[in-house]
Amino acid sequence: MPAAPPYLRARVPRNEDARLLTGRALFVDDVQLPGMLHVAFVRSEHAHGRITSIDASAARLRPGVHAVYTAADLGDYLKPGPILVSPPPIPNLVFHGCTQLPLAKDKVRHVGEPIAMIVADSRYVAEDAIRDVVVEIAPIDAVVDLEKGLAADAPLIHEHLTSNLAAHVIQRKGNYASAKAKADIIVKRRFHYDRGVSAAIENRAVVVDWNPKSEEMTIWDTTQAPIPIRNGLAAMLGLLESQVNVIAPFVGGGFGPKIMMFYPEELLLPWAAMRLNRPLKWTEDRQENFYATTQERGQVHDAEMALTKDGRILGVHDVFLFDTGAYDPYGLTIPINSQCTLIGPYDIPDYESEFTAVFTNKTIVTPVRGAGRQHGVFVSERLLDLAARELGIDRVEIRKRNLIGPDKFPVNHEIMFQDSAPLIYDSGDYLPTLEQAAEIIGYEQFIREEQPRLRAEGRHVGVGVACYVEGTGIGPYEGARVTIEPSGKVRCATGVGTQGQGHFTVFAQLVADVLGVNVVDVKVVTGDTREFHWGTGTFASRGAVVAGSACHAAASNVREKVLNLASVLLNVPPDRLELSGGRVFDTDDPQRGMSLGELSGKANPLRGAVRPGTEPGLESTAYFGPDRGSTASGVHAIIVEVDPETATVEIKRYLVVHDCGTIINPMLVEGQIHGGVAHGIGNAFYEKLVYDEQGQLLNASFMDYLLPTATDVPMIETAHRETPSPYNVVGLKGVGEAGCIPTGAVFAQAVEDALAGSGVEITEIPLSPNRLFELIEAARK
């Protein structure tokens, strides 16, 4: 059923789905060009070692091979990649930025690091030629464990540094020592969170077409940031930005690793295409993805919470280690998110958080959906659970006692967020969200009746309720250009890339409401730098907030133009005009009016004059740049049953009550939440990258690395709340990461509750049936 205006808050079917579901959407690997050659990479099999020799002569002689490049062949192009995100201005911050060469020269620092690039007639020939390249590597002991990596005798990953410390940051609010002195109890634990992959369905891919006659380059790239990629590559290749066009077409999942920019493959294909004058394609295979696409989540926290005996939080102290992998191009976004997100919806007067980032001989770490927020939530939620148990206070009740009240906003937490702006919560209404979640999941009734009844039957059921606050929609800015065409259709071009979020629908909804047109008549274009070349990218749950607000602003400007021109042509004051049904008309006499298409033609006349102070056409470009992000929030609740014999966990119910400000499309918000929860369930109970002590990844395939499947992900219940953001006109907040942020915390809480009395305490994520079995066994002894 087609949706009717107004489209805001309506369940508008997705404009892009017909193309996606019928296989007519372009993905990078669909791009086939005449004369295209294929690329494969020789990658390090060692996690840490010195390259003593590379002999590519046999590979170069293989029939069908056009070129083999090693670091020695790159000349001036062999430079470490840029630091993508500078650390925020935090006093006494230490940061050692070490980035990767496009091809390893003297040293390899993780398994899978590229050493040579092969260009051949087909991927088959290129893969065969990988085995012709003889690379001699003298292994060095690998740094895998974070604490051992900081030991004085640890092997140095970056030899110009004096240790494997990548960064050290302390952030403070108030004075934790005084909070501790006043406290009735201190709850203190060590928490572990381990690594996983993002596991997008589509791996990374790059196709480059260099036209030596027009001296123009077109790059199809699975990036989340096509505009910065274009600008960066143009600079590195010595081209004008306008000579390079980057297209991020449909992308099968981003989840963060595709916002990492200037991956070696992304840098090398354009360079080689200019030398070979042939189009080039590289598509990452799944095995490469496990090594060569960035990963996340290794942290170890030593945290304590100081409370009064009636359960009020006085302060939190947290010291943690953060695994940044072999290089740190993405700066400190993740650990700073962990620091900031730990506070959650709670009034924590005194907070001190200190982290040390550690280089390890593992794949580079950059944000993956949640981007460190999980860790903060896990630590504070688990500490609250432990405090509740120790104080004999109900778990929901202890949370209620500590929530920030609705009258306190904006709340300044006095520490720096990842966007280099102070962490300020714009708006929120936390208590009703928690109450609604507890009510829908039937918390009271479950605890009082159902759980005791099932326990009496010998069944181990548990409930969990966890809160979170999520910084979303950060700057710097995005832009959009909205054009009413003579056909009456509206074109809306924006710079952010799209990876399945529904941008073709939500941006269209915002524009359609402003211009009074049918939502299916708004054609959204994203991720093509020829169409729009100002912007940053899709990350930090910011697409709808920042690019959406820009679309809204551009559409509002076009609306002004429509009103002004129609006012002249119809001789009606602008305030008597209305836009609806694709027309502009006189509200006193609705028959008097014209279609927007006709008006667009009149705005671009073939004769006459475009008057000074006006512009031809019905078009406008606008930008939106918030000073700081908007703060989404929510509560997850879960009911599980644990089989203590097999340590399997069945999720009986999963509920998300979410507040992402004004909702553009509830169906898409639910879709984001469903996907996020599935991601979070994988993170909580299935997915874990296992490295051996020499840095070899032992489960680099979907045979051994488990993803949750349809049978593991329950039906997810959702409820929406709306506390609009004051930072943008529509009141938007982000939602892309919300589903996976408190999942580990709520899962751990419920499993522990199901096993209450057994002594099992969960201080780590991911769990697995195997690990849970070990914990149950250990508690028995």
């Binding site: 099999e45 398994v111 095995q287 070899q696 395939s701 051994d704």
Partner: protein, 152 residues
């Protein structure tokens, strides 16, 4: 990966020792060995094919160097293997103890590091494949020993 164990050869220690130093015998006994040649004093080179789970017939160029030889009691091997799907590096120590019969009890311990694709994809199966290959090899060597003893 650490593989260790004991195996009893039905024959005297000196004859077991001889077999263990004979590349032609080893080439036949070690599963998947295509070639094994002596290339110097106590140095051998060869090509082995190994199948681990989804990796079928992965070829490795291997170099084995014998060290710390105390004939006929014990020796160590330094193993270095390289192939299209990964590498292996490690050491093994073999101790032979003659007991009445005469029989020879071999005690072996090996610590082998495995890397690359074969570690990433075959990890679950590496240990069982390693144990199976060791068992097959030792049984084949024992058969060769008995054949030699039987023929004089």
């Amino acid at each position: 990966m650490i593989l260790s164990g004991t195996f009893t050869f039905e024959g005297p220690r000196a004859r077991v020792w001889d077999i263990l130093q004979d590349p032609d015998v080893l080439a036949k006994a070690l599963p998947g060995t295509k070639t094994l040649t002596k290339v110097g004093d106590d140095r051998y080179q060869g090509v082995m094919k190994v199948s681990v789970g989804p990796m079928s017939a992965a070829e490795f160029n291997i170099t084995v160097e014998l060290k710390d030889k105390v004939e006929p009691e014990k020796f160590s091997m330094v193993i270095d293997g390289k192939g299209g799907v990964g590498f292996t590096k490690g050491t093994a120590t073999i101790v032979l103890d003659e007991q009445p019969g005469p029989i020879t009890v071999m005690t072996y311990t090996s610590d082998v590091q495995i890397g690359g694709k074969i570690a990433a994809v075959g990890q679950r199966l590496l240990e069982s494949v390693g144990k199976m290959m060791t068992k097959q090899a030792l049984e084949a060597l024992n058969r060769e020993l008995k054949a030699r003893l039987g023929s004089g």
